[in-house]
Symmetry: C2
Subunit: 244 residues, 2 copies
Protein backbone atom coordinates (compact mmCIF):
# COMPACT_ATOMS: atom_id res chain seq x y z
CA UNK A 1 0.00 0.00 0.00
CA UNK A 2 2.88 2.36 -0.67
CA UNK A 3 0.80 3.93 -3.40
CA UNK A 4 0.24 7.63 -3.34
CA UNK A 5 -2.09 9.90 -5.23
CA UNK A 6 -0.65 11.04 -8.52
CA UNK A 7 0.18 14.70 -8.62
CA UNK A 8 -1.35 16.23 -11.69
CA UNK A 9 0.56 19.25 -12.84
CA UNK A 10 -1.23 21.48 -15.26
CA UNK A 11 0.60 23.78 -17.65
CA UNK A 12 -0.08 26.87 -15.56
CA UNK A 13 1.36 24.98 -12.58
CA UNK A 14 4.50 24.38 -14.55
CA UNK A 15 4.83 27.99 -15.61
CA UNK A 16 4.04 29.18 -12.11
CA UNK A 17 6.79 27.02 -10.69
CA UNK A 18 9.37 28.20 -13.15
CA UNK A 19 8.56 31.85 -12.60
CA UNK A 20 8.41 31.43 -8.84
CA UNK A 21 11.81 29.81 -8.76
CA UNK A 22 13.27 32.61 -10.83
CA UNK A 23 11.86 35.26 -8.52
CA UNK A 24 12.47 33.58 -5.17
CA UNK A 25 16.03 32.76 -6.11
CA UNK A 26 16.56 36.41 -6.98
CA UNK A 27 17.24 36.04 -10.67
CA UNK A 28 14.39 38.45 -11.21
CA UNK A 29 15.23 41.12 -8.66
CA UNK A 30 12.60 43.26 -6.93
CA UNK A 31 11.81 46.28 -9.06
CA UNK A 32 12.72 44.51 -12.29
CA UNK A 33 10.13 43.47 -14.84
CA UNK A 34 9.32 39.97 -15.91
CA UNK A 35 9.02 39.29 -19.65
CA UNK A 36 5.71 40.16 -21.28
CA UNK A 37 2.98 37.55 -21.45
CA UNK A 38 3.49 37.26 -25.18
CA UNK A 39 7.24 36.74 -24.83
CA UNK A 40 6.79 34.15 -22.10
CA UNK A 41 4.14 32.39 -24.09
CA UNK A 42 6.48 32.09 -27.05
CA UNK A 43 9.54 31.18 -24.97
CA UNK A 44 7.74 28.50 -22.99
CA UNK A 45 5.79 27.19 -25.94
CA UNK A 46 2.37 27.49 -24.35
CA UNK A 47 -0.65 29.59 -25.02
CA UNK A 48 -0.78 33.10 -23.67
CA UNK A 49 -3.78 32.24 -21.51
CA UNK A 50 -1.69 29.68 -19.69
CA UNK A 51 1.05 32.20 -18.99
CA UNK A 52 -1.57 34.66 -17.95
CA UNK A 53 -3.02 32.36 -15.34
CA UNK A 54 0.41 31.66 -13.88
CA UNK A 55 1.25 35.36 -13.69
CA UNK A 56 -2.08 36.09 -12.06
CA UNK A 57 -1.28 33.57 -9.38
CA UNK A 58 2.08 35.22 -8.80
CA UNK A 59 0.22 38.46 -8.43
CA UNK A 60 -2.21 37.02 -5.93
CA UNK A 61 0.48 35.78 -3.55
CA UNK A 62 2.26 39.11 -3.75
CA UNK A 63 5.34 38.23 -5.78
CA UNK A 64 4.63 40.58 -8.68
CA UNK A 65 2.35 43.44 -9.53
CA UNK A 66 0.87 43.96 -12.96
CA UNK A 67 -1.52 46.48 -14.43
CA UNK A 68 -2.97 47.26 -17.78
CA UNK A 69 -0.51 48.91 -20.10
CA UNK A 70 2.60 48.77 -17.97
CA UNK A 71 4.92 45.85 -17.50
CA UNK A 72 4.57 43.37 -14.68
CA UNK A 73 7.07 44.12 -11.96
CA UNK A 74 8.67 41.95 -9.33
CA UNK A 75 7.92 42.97 -5.75
CA UNK A 76 9.97 42.58 -2.59
CA UNK A 77 8.01 39.72 -1.15
CA UNK A 78 9.31 40.27 2.35
CA UNK A 79 7.38 43.51 2.37
CA UNK A 80 4.28 42.64 0.38
CA UNK A 81 3.48 38.94 0.59
CA UNK A 82 1.45 37.15 3.25
CA UNK A 83 2.17 34.03 5.21
CA UNK A 84 0.89 31.80 2.42
CA UNK A 85 4.05 32.64 0.57
CA UNK A 86 6.14 30.72 3.07
CA UNK A 87 5.21 27.35 1.59
CA UNK A 88 5.88 28.62 -1.91
CA UNK A 89 9.29 29.93 -0.99
CA UNK A 90 10.10 26.77 0.93
CA UNK A 91 9.32 24.75 -2.15
CA UNK A 92 11.31 26.90 -4.52
CA UNK A 93 14.25 28.17 -2.48
CA UNK A 94 17.15 27.57 -4.77
CA UNK A 95 20.43 27.44 -3.01
CA UNK A 96 19.20 24.91 -0.47
CA UNK A 97 21.21 26.79 2.13
CA UNK A 98 18.55 29.50 1.93
CA UNK A 99 16.04 26.94 3.07
CA UNK A 100 17.42 26.37 6.53
CA UNK A 101 16.85 29.81 8.06
CA UNK A 102 13.46 29.82 6.41
CA UNK A 103 12.32 26.56 7.96
CA UNK A 104 13.93 27.58 11.23
CA UNK A 105 11.80 30.72 11.18
CA UNK A 106 8.71 28.64 10.52
CA UNK A 107 9.53 26.35 13.42
CA UNK A 108 10.23 29.32 15.66
CA UNK A 109 6.86 30.77 14.80
CA UNK A 110 5.25 27.40 15.40
CA UNK A 111 6.72 27.45 18.90
CA UNK A 112 5.50 30.98 19.49
CA UNK A 113 1.91 30.51 18.36
CA UNK A 114 1.90 27.03 19.89
CA UNK A 115 2.57 28.50 23.31
CA UNK A 116 -0.13 31.08 22.78
CA UNK A 117 -2.64 28.53 21.49
CA UNK A 118 -1.98 26.29 24.47
CA UNK A 119 -2.68 29.21 26.76
CA UNK A 120 -5.91 30.16 25.03
CA UNK A 121 -7.09 26.57 24.86
CA UNK A 122 -6.44 26.20 28.57
CA UNK A 123 -8.38 29.36 29.29
CA UNK A 124 -11.33 28.71 27.03
CA UNK A 125 -12.03 25.03 26.79
CA UNK A 126 -9.90 23.11 29.24
CA UNK A 127 -12.61 20.61 30.05
CA UNK A 128 -13.77 19.97 26.48
CA UNK A 129 -10.36 19.72 24.85
CA UNK A 130 -8.28 18.35 27.70
CA UNK A 131 -9.39 14.74 27.50
CA UNK A 132 -8.92 14.35 23.79
CA UNK A 133 -5.55 16.10 23.88
CA UNK A 134 -4.36 13.67 26.52
CA UNK A 135 -5.52 10.76 24.42
CA UNK A 136 -3.70 12.00 21.33
CA UNK A 137 -0.59 12.64 23.41
CA UNK A 138 -0.71 9.05 24.64
CA UNK A 139 -0.84 7.68 21.14
CA UNK A 140 1.91 10.05 20.11
CA UNK A 141 4.15 8.71 22.84
CA UNK A 142 3.37 5.14 21.80
CA UNK A 143 4.22 5.23 18.11
CA UNK A 144 7.60 5.06 16.46
CA UNK A 145 6.59 5.78 12.90
CA UNK A 146 7.72 9.20 11.68
CA UNK A 147 4.82 9.79 9.34
CA UNK A 148 2.28 8.78 11.96
CA UNK A 149 3.93 11.07 14.48
CA UNK A 150 3.63 13.95 12.07
CA UNK A 151 -0.06 13.20 11.56
CA UNK A 152 -0.77 12.87 15.27
CA UNK A 153 1.17 16.01 16.05
CA UNK A 154 -0.95 17.82 13.53
CA UNK A 155 -4.14 16.47 15.08
CA UNK A 156 -2.94 17.47 18.52
CA UNK A 157 -2.53 21.05 17.51
CA UNK A 158 -5.67 20.99 15.45
CA UNK A 159 -7.65 20.06 18.52
CA UNK A 160 -5.89 22.70 20.61
CA UNK A 161 -6.69 25.28 17.95
CA UNK A 162 -10.36 24.32 18.05
CA UNK A 163 -10.25 24.89 21.77
CA UNK A 164 -8.49 28.22 21.41
CA UNK A 165 -11.25 29.47 19.17
CA UNK A 166 -9.08 31.89 17.23
CA UNK A 167 -9.48 31.90 13.45
CA UNK A 168 -6.28 33.83 12.80
CA UNK A 169 -4.12 31.32 14.66
CA UNK A 170 -5.97 28.52 12.93
CA UNK A 171 -5.22 29.89 9.48
CA UNK A 172 -1.64 30.74 10.39
CA UNK A 173 -1.20 27.16 11.53
CA UNK A 174 -2.50 25.92 8.19
CA UNK A 175 0.04 28.09 6.40
CA UNK A 176 2.88 26.80 8.53
CA UNK A 177 1.81 23.19 8.07
CA UNK A 178 1.85 23.66 4.34
CA UNK A 179 5.37 25.06 4.46
CA UNK A 180 6.55 22.21 6.63
CA UNK A 181 4.91 19.58 4.44
CA UNK A 182 6.53 21.06 1.38
CA UNK A 183 9.84 19.92 2.83
CA UNK A 184 9.24 16.74 4.76
CA UNK A 185 12.82 15.75 4.24
CA UNK A 186 13.76 18.61 6.52
CA UNK A 187 10.78 18.72 8.85
CA UNK A 188 10.73 15.06 9.81
CA UNK A 189 14.25 15.13 11.32
CA UNK A 190 13.24 18.22 13.25
CA UNK A 191 10.27 16.44 14.75
CA UNK A 192 12.43 13.44 15.52
CA UNK A 193 14.80 15.46 17.65
CA UNK A 194 11.89 17.12 19.41
CA UNK A 195 10.65 13.71 20.38
CA UNK A 196 14.13 12.55 21.29
CA UNK A 197 14.12 15.17 24.02
CA UNK A 198 11.45 13.15 25.79
CA UNK A 199 7.69 12.91 25.96
CA UNK A 200 6.76 16.41 25.06
CA UNK A 201 3.04 16.57 24.40
CA UNK A 202 1.63 15.02 27.55
CA UNK A 203 2.75 17.82 29.88
CA UNK A 204 1.01 20.30 27.58
CA UNK A 205 -2.16 18.25 27.41
CA UNK A 206 -2.12 17.75 31.18
CA UNK A 207 -1.75 21.46 31.85
CA UNK A 208 -4.60 22.27 29.50
CA UNK A 209 -6.80 19.58 31.00
CA UNK A 210 -6.05 21.01 34.43
CA UNK A 211 -7.08 24.45 33.18
CA UNK A 212 -3.66 25.88 34.02
CA UNK A 213 -3.17 28.12 31.02
CA UNK A 214 0.12 29.57 32.19
CA UNK A 215 1.61 26.12 32.75
CA UNK A 216 0.42 25.06 29.29
CA UNK A 217 2.24 28.01 27.76
CA UNK A 218 5.43 27.24 29.62
CA UNK A 219 5.31 23.55 28.80
CA UNK A 220 4.86 24.35 25.13
CA UNK A 221 7.67 26.85 25.13
CA UNK A 222 9.95 24.28 26.69
CA UNK A 223 8.89 21.48 24.35
CA UNK A 224 9.17 23.42 21.12
CA UNK A 225 12.23 25.49 21.93
CA UNK A 226 14.39 25.27 18.84
CA UNK A 227 17.89 23.91 18.91
CA UNK A 228 20.53 25.09 16.50
CA UNK A 229 19.49 24.01 13.00
CA UNK A 230 22.89 22.47 12.39
CA UNK A 231 22.19 19.98 15.16
CA UNK A 232 19.46 18.52 13.02
CA UNK A 233 20.32 19.04 9.41
CA UNK A 234 23.78 18.12 8.24
CA UNK A 235 25.09 21.17 6.51
CA UNK A 236 26.59 19.87 3.32
CA UNK A 237 26.41 16.21 2.25
CA UNK A 238 22.78 15.60 1.27
CA UNK A 239 22.08 19.29 1.06
CA UNK A 240 24.44 20.51 -1.62
CA UNK A 241 23.88 17.37 -3.58
CA UNK A 242 20.14 17.99 -3.77
CA UNK A 243 20.78 21.49 -5.11
CA UNK A 244 22.94 20.02 -7.84
Amino acid sequence: MALRAIEKRSLPDEVFEQLTTEIVSGRYAPGASIPSERDLSETLGVNRHVVREAVKRLEQIGLVKGGQGGRTKVLDFRATAGLDLLAVVAEHAEPVEDLLPLLASAMEMRAGIGAEVARLCGERSASEAGGELLRIAERLAATDDGEERLALDQRFWQRALDGAGNLAYQLAFNSLIRAVHARRDFSLPWLEQELARGDYRRPIAAAIAAGDAEAATQATRRALAPPAPTDIWPTSSTTTEASR
Copy 2:
Protein backbone atom coordinates in the same frame (compact mmCIF):
# COMPACT_ATOMS: atom_id res chain seq x y z
CA MET B 1 -5.27 66.82 -0.84
CA ALA B 2 -8.07 64.47 0.14
CA LEU B 3 -7.60 62.72 -3.18
CA ARG B 4 -6.92 59.02 -3.19
CA ALA B 5 -5.81 56.61 -5.85
CA ILE B 6 -8.68 55.20 -7.86
CA GLU B 7 -9.27 51.54 -7.29
CA LYS B 8 -9.42 49.79 -10.62
CA ARG B 9 -11.55 46.70 -10.44
CA SER B 10 -11.16 44.29 -13.26
CA LEU B 11 -13.90 41.87 -14.25
CA PRO B 12 -12.19 38.91 -12.58
CA ASP B 13 -11.97 41.02 -9.43
CA GLU B 14 -15.69 41.52 -9.59
CA VAL B 15 -16.44 37.85 -10.09
CA PHE B 16 -13.96 36.90 -7.41
CA GLU B 17 -15.68 39.18 -4.93
CA GLN B 18 -19.12 37.87 -5.69
CA LEU B 19 -18.08 34.26 -5.37
CA THR B 20 -16.04 34.93 -2.24
CA THR B 21 -18.98 36.61 -0.58
CA GLU B 22 -21.24 33.69 -1.44
CA ILE B 23 -18.79 31.20 0.02
CA VAL B 24 -17.66 33.11 3.09
CA SER B 25 -21.23 33.92 4.02
CA GLY B 26 -22.04 30.24 3.79
CA ARG B 27 -24.49 30.34 0.91
CA TYR B 28 -22.26 27.86 -0.84
CA ALA B 29 -21.66 25.37 1.97
CA PRO B 30 -18.46 23.32 2.27
CA GLY B 31 -18.80 20.16 0.23
CA ALA B 32 -21.25 21.71 -2.19
CA SER B 33 -20.31 22.53 -5.77
CA ILE B 34 -20.23 25.95 -7.33
CA PRO B 35 -21.85 26.35 -10.75
CA SER B 36 -19.77 25.33 -13.75
CA GLU B 37 -17.55 27.88 -15.43
CA ARG B 38 -19.87 27.93 -18.42
CA ASP B 39 -22.94 28.53 -16.28
CA LEU B 40 -21.25 31.29 -14.32
CA SER B 41 -19.96 32.88 -17.49
CA GLU B 42 -23.48 33.00 -18.88
CA THR B 43 -25.12 34.10 -15.64
CA LEU B 44 -22.65 36.89 -15.00
CA GLY B 45 -22.46 37.94 -18.62
CA VAL B 46 -18.68 37.71 -18.91
CA ASN B 47 -16.32 35.52 -20.82
CA ARG B 48 -15.46 32.12 -19.50
CA HIS B 49 -11.80 33.10 -19.14
CA VAL B 50 -12.81 35.82 -16.73
CA VAL B 51 -14.78 33.37 -14.62
CA ARG B 52 -11.93 30.95 -14.87
CA GLU B 53 -9.41 33.40 -13.50
CA ALA B 54 -11.67 34.23 -10.56
CA VAL B 55 -12.23 30.57 -9.75
CA LYS B 56 -8.51 29.90 -9.98
CA ARG B 57 -7.91 32.60 -7.44
CA LEU B 58 -10.48 31.05 -5.13
CA GLU B 59 -8.62 27.79 -5.56
CA GLN B 60 -5.30 29.36 -4.72
CA ILE B 61 -6.43 30.81 -1.42
CA GLY B 62 -8.01 27.52 -0.46
CA LEU B 63 -11.70 28.30 -0.71
CA VAL B 64 -12.52 25.75 -3.41
CA LYS B 65 -10.92 22.79 -5.11
CA GLY B 66 -11.34 22.03 -8.77
CA GLY B 67 -9.96 19.40 -11.08
CA GLN B 68 -10.41 18.39 -14.66
CA GLY B 69 -13.67 16.65 -15.31
CA GLY B 70 -15.24 16.94 -11.89
CA ARG B 71 -17.10 19.90 -10.51
CA THR B 72 -15.43 22.55 -8.43
CA LYS B 73 -16.22 22.04 -4.78
CA VAL B 74 -16.31 24.40 -1.85
CA LEU B 75 -13.85 23.62 0.92
CA ASP B 76 -14.03 24.26 4.65
CA PHE B 77 -11.68 27.19 4.69
CA ARG B 78 -11.01 26.90 8.41
CA ALA B 79 -9.27 23.63 7.66
CA THR B 80 -7.62 24.33 4.32
CA ALA B 81 -6.93 28.02 3.85
CA GLY B 82 -3.87 29.96 4.98
CA LEU B 83 -3.54 33.22 6.83
CA ASP B 84 -3.91 35.22 3.63
CA LEU B 85 -7.56 34.32 3.72
CA LEU B 86 -8.10 36.44 6.79
CA ALA B 87 -8.13 39.69 4.83
CA VAL B 88 -10.46 38.19 2.25
CA VAL B 89 -12.90 37.00 4.87
CA ALA B 90 -12.68 40.29 6.72
CA GLU B 91 -13.61 42.10 3.54
CA HIS B 92 -16.49 39.81 2.66
CA ALA B 93 -17.96 38.73 5.99
CA GLU B 94 -21.61 39.20 5.43
CA PRO B 95 -23.54 39.53 8.62
CA VAL B 96 -21.22 42.19 10.03
CA GLU B 97 -21.60 40.51 13.41
CA ASP B 98 -19.36 37.76 12.05
CA LEU B 99 -16.68 40.35 11.59
CA LEU B 100 -16.12 41.18 15.24
CA PRO B 101 -14.78 37.83 16.48
CA LEU B 102 -12.71 37.65 13.33
CA LEU B 103 -11.00 40.99 13.88
CA ALA B 104 -10.70 40.21 17.56
CA SER B 105 -8.84 37.04 16.66
CA ALA B 106 -6.56 39.03 14.36
CA MET B 107 -5.81 41.49 17.14
CA GLU B 108 -5.22 38.69 19.58
CA MET B 109 -2.74 37.14 17.22
CA ARG B 110 -1.11 40.51 16.72
CA ALA B 111 -0.59 40.70 20.46
CA GLY B 112 0.84 37.20 20.56
CA ILE B 113 3.32 37.53 17.75
CA GLY B 114 4.05 41.11 18.83
CA ALA B 115 5.26 39.86 22.19
CA GLU B 116 7.36 37.22 20.51
CA VAL B 117 8.81 39.63 17.97
CA ALA B 118 9.73 42.06 20.73
CA ARG B 119 11.55 39.27 22.51
CA LEU B 120 13.46 38.17 19.44
CA CYS B 121 14.32 41.71 18.48
CA GLY B 122 15.66 42.33 21.97
CA GLU B 123 17.75 39.18 21.78
CA ARG B 124 19.09 39.63 18.30
CA SER B 125 19.55 43.28 17.51
CA ALA B 126 18.93 45.37 20.59
CA SER B 127 21.64 47.87 19.75
CA GLU B 128 20.80 48.28 16.07
CA ALA B 129 17.03 48.49 16.38
CA GLY B 130 16.65 50.06 19.82
CA GLY B 131 17.46 53.63 18.87
CA GLU B 132 15.16 53.79 15.89
CA LEU B 133 12.34 52.13 17.78
CA LEU B 134 12.64 54.73 20.52
CA ARG B 135 12.52 57.49 17.94
CA ILE B 136 9.39 56.10 16.30
CA ALA B 137 7.79 55.64 19.70
CA GLU B 138 8.46 59.29 20.49
CA ARG B 139 6.77 60.44 17.33
CA LEU B 140 3.90 58.07 17.99
CA ALA B 141 3.36 59.59 21.40
CA ALA B 142 3.43 63.08 19.90
CA THR B 143 0.82 62.79 17.17
CA ASP B 144 -2.93 62.92 17.46
CA ASP B 145 -3.88 61.96 13.94
CA GLY B 146 -5.41 58.49 13.66
CA GLU B 147 -4.10 57.70 10.21
CA GLU B 148 -0.60 58.84 11.10
CA ARG B 149 -0.69 56.74 14.24
CA LEU B 150 -1.62 53.71 12.19
CA ALA B 151 1.28 54.36 9.82
CA LEU B 152 3.78 54.90 12.63
CA ASP B 153 2.56 51.86 14.48
CA GLN B 154 3.14 49.86 11.34
CA ARG B 155 6.66 51.25 10.98
CA PHE B 156 7.39 50.49 14.60
CA TRP B 157 6.58 46.84 14.15
CA GLN B 158 8.23 46.74 10.78
CA ARG B 159 11.48 47.80 12.36
CA ALA B 160 11.06 45.33 15.20
CA LEU B 161 10.44 42.57 12.68
CA ASP B 162 13.61 43.47 10.83
CA GLY B 163 15.43 43.13 14.11
CA ALA B 164 13.79 39.83 14.91
CA GLY B 165 15.05 38.38 11.63
CA ASN B 166 12.23 35.89 11.24
CA LEU B 167 10.65 35.65 7.79
CA ALA B 168 7.59 33.74 8.99
CA TYR B 169 6.65 36.41 11.52
CA GLN B 170 7.31 39.05 8.91
CA LEU B 171 4.92 37.48 6.43
CA ALA B 172 2.32 36.77 9.08
CA PHE B 173 2.47 40.41 10.05
CA ASN B 174 1.85 41.41 6.45
CA SER B 175 -1.21 39.18 6.36
CA LEU B 176 -2.59 40.65 9.55
CA ILE B 177 -1.94 44.19 8.39
CA ARG B 178 -3.89 43.50 5.23
CA ALA B 179 -6.83 42.16 7.22
CA VAL B 180 -6.78 45.16 9.50
CA HIS B 181 -6.54 47.61 6.63
CA ALA B 182 -9.49 45.97 4.94
CA ARG B 183 -11.58 47.26 7.81
CA ARG B 184 -10.14 50.54 8.95
CA ASP B 185 -13.51 51.55 10.29
CA PHE B 186 -13.08 48.85 12.90
CA SER B 187 -9.33 48.84 13.38
CA LEU B 188 -8.87 52.56 13.94
CA PRO B 189 -11.10 52.64 17.04
CA TRP B 190 -9.20 49.66 18.37
CA LEU B 191 -5.92 51.48 18.01
CA GLU B 192 -7.45 54.57 19.60
CA GLN B 193 -8.35 52.73 22.75
CA GLU B 194 -4.93 51.15 22.89
CA LEU B 195 -3.42 54.58 22.89
CA ALA B 196 -5.98 55.85 25.38
CA ARG B 197 -4.52 53.41 27.87
CA GLY B 198 -1.38 55.50 27.89
CA ASP B 199 1.95 55.69 26.14
CA TYR B 200 2.38 52.13 25.12
CA ARG B 201 5.22 51.85 22.65
CA ARG B 202 8.01 53.55 24.53
CA PRO B 203 8.28 50.91 27.27
CA ILE B 204 8.64 48.27 24.56
CA ALA B 205 11.26 50.25 22.68
CA ALA B 206 13.13 50.99 25.89
CA ALA B 207 13.21 47.34 26.89
CA ILE B 208 14.48 46.33 23.48
CA ALA B 209 17.09 49.07 23.47
CA ALA B 210 18.22 47.85 26.88
CA GLY B 211 18.52 44.33 25.49
CA ASP B 212 16.04 43.03 28.05
CA ALA B 213 14.11 40.61 25.86
CA GLU B 214 11.91 39.29 28.62
CA ALA B 215 10.85 42.80 29.65
CA ALA B 216 10.10 43.61 26.02
CA THR B 217 7.79 40.62 25.81
CA GLN B 218 5.99 41.55 28.99
CA ALA B 219 5.63 45.19 28.00
CA THR B 220 4.14 44.15 24.66
CA ARG B 221 1.78 41.72 26.25
CA ARG B 222 0.57 44.41 28.59
CA ALA B 223 0.25 47.04 25.88
CA LEU B 224 -1.62 44.91 23.36
CA ALA B 225 -3.80 42.94 25.75
CA PRO B 226 -7.23 42.99 24.17
CA PRO B 227 -10.23 44.46 25.94
CA ALA B 228 -13.70 43.14 25.29
CA PRO B 229 -14.63 43.98 21.70
CA THR B 230 -17.87 45.52 22.83
CA ASP B 231 -15.91 48.18 24.68
CA ILE B 232 -14.67 49.45 21.36
CA TRP B 233 -17.26 48.68 18.73
CA PRO B 234 -20.85 49.57 19.47
CA THR B 235 -22.77 46.39 18.86
CA SER B 236 -25.76 47.51 16.86
CA SER B 237 -26.26 51.11 15.66
CA THR B 238 -23.64 51.65 12.92
CA THR B 239 -23.04 47.96 12.57
CA THR B 240 -26.41 46.60 11.57
CA GLU B 241 -27.02 49.59 9.41
CA ALA B 242 -23.90 48.93 7.39
CA SER B 243 -25.03 45.37 6.77
CA ARG B 244 -28.32 46.64 5.41
